[in-house]
Symmetry: C2
């Protein structure tokens, strides 16, 4: 197979350097004589991989020591339940910005009171609701958001007010796509499979003092964040290989990209190329409110579902994979996460231009 550009929303493309390193080390990692997959999680060799991964993450985002870095399993979906299981004592303010908050709301409702503090379902989630402190329920424990909405291509540019409340955010699709100031949050989580590594690892960054406010009816040690803190994410066997891969991706970010500021510049260049073309195209358009546009998930449509279909099919033939939009919204979507090279976006824009000319 010749080179493909993979615009999948996740699992998504990974840096070639990371995959090459993983292939090289598959049978003998760091002179251990074994694969990382074969290492006991209690071995010094794996413990140093875990520690290095945490250290790199801490350096990348200058995460202060009063925040814990944890590795869990179960993806964002399990976090939709774990967050209220641990912290919804009196209620949760949730802002509904699409599929992932809808699921978070449904799970939170099983476990406590939910107050809808904002909702952009009236316009198919094409914007981020701008809420004020007055939109919050006075009794809730936290405000919950999905910061970047993969399906609709929206992103918070300013975090919502949350005076007197904790702020908990799902950063699955935007983590480390730009500099991250974790001190603005009390907890963030991110499934790895978009910007951090393979599916099966969930990164949680949590302010230590949030753990003083846990519910006392958490049904399982495995669903209690404190278990992960107390055992350095090794209460049970963690997803060792996934953690190793996250470590490689973060090392790539730090050493090859030069950190999150540089990553943001590259992502801005990529997004700029595609948005500029979309805003000038007579065929394609992006439906999202300009001020709320995502840096990494860019949906677009022609307005004609048949033409969309033809575009997706021809793009696939030309090596542009996974451009089909989410089944709930249709159209197309280009996910241009960290690992998508600038050339991939340039090639896509060229292909779109040629397609537009051909159909003019």
């Amino acid at each position: 197979m010749s080179k493909v550009y993979n615009f999948s929303a996740g699992p998504a493309c990974m840096p070639e350097w990371v995959l090459k390193t993983a292939a090289d080390e598959m049978l003998d990692a760091r002179g251990s004589g074994m694969s990382v997959m074969e290492m006991s999680h209690r071995s010094k060799a794996f413990e140093s991989i875990l520690q290095e991964t945490k250290d790199t993450i801490r350096r990348l985002a200058s995460i202060p020591e009063d925040y814990e870095i944890l590795f869990l399993q179960g993806g964002g979906n399990l976090q939709f339940s774990m967050v209220p299981m641990n912290f919804n004592k009196n209620g949760a303010d949730i802002i509904n910005t699409g599929q992932w908050t809808k699921k978070a709301i449904a799970e939170a409702k099983k476990l406590g009171r939910v107050h809808l503090a904002g909702d952009s379902s009236d316009k198919t989630f094409t914007y981020i609701p701008k809420i004020t402190q007055e939109d919050l329920d006075p009794d809730t424990d936290y405000v919950y958001i999905c910061e970047n909405n993969t399906i609709y291509g929206t992103k918070y540019k300013n975090l919502p007010p949350h005076e007197g409340k904790r702020l908990i955010a799902d950063l699955s699709s935007c983590i480390f796509t730009e500099p991250l100031d974790v001190t603005q949050y009390d907890m963030i989580f991110a499934g790895a499979q978009k910007n951090l590594g393979p599916a099966g690892v969930t990164l949680v960054i949590i302010k230590k003092d949030l753990l003083d406010e846990q519910r006392d009816d958490i049904p399982s040690a495995m669903l209690d964040y404190k278990t992960y803190v107390d055992h350095d994410s090794m209460y049970n066997t963690p997803p060792t290989y996934g953690i190793y891969m996250v470590g490689l991706v973060c090392k790539w970010l730090e050493e090859q990209i030069g950190g999150l500021e540089n990553m943001e510049k590259i992502n801005q260049e990529k997004a700029g190329l595609l948005y500029d073309y979309l805003d000038n195209s007579k065929m394609f358009s992006n439906p999202v409110a300009v001020e709320d546009r995502s840096l990494v998930n860019i949906p677009f449509v022609t307005g004609d579902p048949e033409l969309d279909k033809e575009f997706i099919a021809k793009a696939k033939e030309a090596g542009f994979e996974n451009l089909k939009g989410h089944r709930t919204v249709g159209g197309m979507r280009a996910s241009i996460y960290n690992a998508m090279p600038v050339e991939g976006v340039k090639a896509l824009v060229d292909f779109m231009k040629a397609f537009e000319e051909e159909h003019a």
Copy 2:
């Protein structure tokens, strides 16, 4: 690093063919132009990997169609909670055979009534309690066992009676080490990291009609087995790379080993070599009741903790990794799962003989 033999209890050694295949396919799997890690879980390419993995597992153990094959996350530890969350309506009969059932009991007690149907803690879990139907509580929904006890080196040779009740078993350390008749169970689960693949995937095989007996207060879609059945393990993003690796390991079992009967013969040869030596050694001994000995986890001691320490250190120098016993029991333990070659066990026995002679 020169060749090492890795006797880790899990994550454990993997077949070299599997690792080589994974390395070869890391950047371009099956002509897709991408790594399995990069494939959308909704893509045809990944769906065919999932289906093949399930098909191979079904063939390997002749699993009938009234059993579902599911892939979850969270390891055995999350199953300790999910089993009672889903099925403990009136109580659970649990047989305590060590660390992993102790944890299962502790988690089950948070969620319902537990009756201890048997317990071998009186002799440091060196035997399997032989219970009768009369030892069971008449009102419980299921009997729960850990079939092979990794730490203590015990294994059920006969399943316990469970008339009128479901049988649910943790097979994490013995699955596919010998032929498996799933029709003897209502549900089995196994963390992948011993015999199936990398940590981070849990295989669940569940009888469909058990799902008719679920509790109605399951707190999360992610903790409900029916979610996995209804969505073919893809309600959310599954651990795609782990599932692919499980598929490779099962393919190796089927094509290179020739199935579970052959695997059992090889495992018997390996275990026989080590047990024969231990039973004839004047220095080393195995503390487990002969009829309850594990095929794959073999603990042994010299009787002198200092000598144990010296043995472990010298063995490590000679390339025998992870022979230290679990911290709760001390001594040594050789985990000789499917992927450990016969030569590895022969080399270990030779090393032990030499060590014994040297210290005679």
